[in-house]
């Protein structure tokens, strides 16, 4: 059991920043009002430059708004009463691992696609309750009526 742990630890030492990058998907760059990030069971307080991971959900309250920048330059912004999950995110061109799946539960969202949409257009999709949006390099605005 020791060997894999040691191996992992030494891989991390060799490529310290790559390890740090492994679960990094983007940041919350701008925000106003009530904004939180749901990670697993926890609701986290958000400040500018908050680091997002794959799987995080960003939620805004009645007076809240937030702007996210993902590692591949994708820019997502949320109006009030909105909830978006970063269901899948991989931006590792060297290993040809590229994918972006965002799920919108409710609210108003602006989505400006980045490099993943350029390098692997079919790997970018936005899921909404009623349909899936395939994005081939562009700016999309989506409104999902709340529940």
């Amino acid at each position: 059991m020791r060997t894999p742990t040691l191996l992992l630890a030494s891989t991390c030492l060799l490529t310290a920043s790559a390890c740090w990058a492994a679960d990094h998907a983007g940041i919350v760059k701008t925000l106003s009002g009530e904004v939180s990030v749901i990670r697993g069971e926890n609701s986290l307080k958000v400040v500018p430059n908050f680091r997002l991971q794959e799987g995080d959900q960003v939620q805004t309250g009645p007076g809240g708004k937030a702007g996210l920048i993902l590692d591949d330059d994708t820019v997502i912004s949320l109006g009030p009463n909105s909830r978006v999950a970063l269901t899948g995110f991989a931006f590792h061109p060297a290993e040809k691992k590229l994918s972006l799946v965002a799920r919108i539960y409710r609210g108003t969202i602006s989505f400006l696609s980045g490099q993943i949409a350029k390098l692997a257009p079919h790997q970018v999709r936005i899921e909404t309750p009623g349909a899936t949006v395939g994005v081939r390099g562009t700016h999309v605005l989506i409104e999902v009526e709340g529940s």
């Binding site: 920043s17 790559a18 740090w20 990058a21 990094h24 940041i27 760059k29 701008t30 925000l31 106003s32 500018p48 430059n49 680091r51 708004k65 937030a66 702007g67 996210l68 920048i69 590692d71 330059d73 820019v75 912004s77 949320l78 109006g79 009030p80 909105s82 061109p93 060297a94 040809k96 409710r106 108003t108 969202i109 602006s110 400006l112 696609s113 490099q115 390098l119 909404t128 309750p129 009623g130 349909a131 899936t132 949006v133 395939g134 994005v135 081939r136 390099g137 562009t138 700016h139 999309v140 605005l141 989506i142 409104e143 999902v144 009526e145 709340g146 529940s147």
Partner: protein, 200 residues
């Protein structure tokens, strides 16, 4: 037994999600910041629609009904409807491309460009900076990746010297897989042999 319960729970979750699928959804295409208009398709189990012009939009009532035929909206109407989300949209990340005279020595022009990087970090109060090594498609992948990583590391060190905290910088390599100028394999292309600094 646990598996059965877990399966039943999953079915319940899926059923709940499907039940919520009544939330009416509006999808609109808008121009990119540079004015270019891309393309999207909006689809579900009942069918899909393609949209490729600015401010065309479709609505979807639930996943069992095909998205409506696209309708042309005005720019004003769309901007009003999405005013809150658009008002908080962060500036797109800025990219700097650095080139080398040899090995890990920056060219004079790229050396100067480091000042602009530091300035951008200050202006944006950026705490998320990527330093990415890129190669062209010539030569062995191993040698190229190794060199591009050493170059990226050298740039990172220069940024740290100029006061950018090391913990805000991530160093990676995209190898030949994210070229500035797409080429076929085994092509010498100096413009692709670069280190990119992204400031968010």
């Amino acid at each position: 037994m646990v598996h059965v319960l877990r399966a039943a729970f999953l079915v319940l979750i899926v059923a709940l999600f499907t039940a919520c699928a009544g939330n009416k959804t509006l999808v609109t295409l808008a121009p990119d910041p540079d004015g270019k208009v891309g393309a999207i398709d909006v689809g579900n189990e009942a069918g899909s629609v393609a949209i490729a012009s600015a401010y065309q939009s479709t609505t979807v009532s639930d996943s069992t009904k095909r998205p409506e035929a696209p309708v042309q909206l005005t720019r004003e109407a769309v901007e009003k409807r999405f005013a809150d989300a658009l008002s908080i949209q962060p500036k797109q990340p800025v990219h700097f491309l650095l080139y080398f005279d040899k090995d890990t020595t920056l060219s004079a022009a790229s050396s100067k460009l480091l000042n602009d990087v530091v300035k951008a970090v200050g202006e944006r109060q950026a705490e998320d900076i990527s330093v990415i090594g890129h190669t062209d498609t010539l030569g062995s992948a191993q040698y190229n990746n190794e060199l591009s990583r050493r170059r990226a590391q050298a740039v990172r060190d220069l940024l740290v010297e100029r006061g950018i905290p090391a913990h805000n910088i991530r160093v990676t390599s995209h190898g030949k897989e994210n070229p500035l100028i797409p080429t076929s394999d085994n092509v010498y292309e100096p413009r692709n042999r670069r280190v990119e600094v992204d400031v968010r």
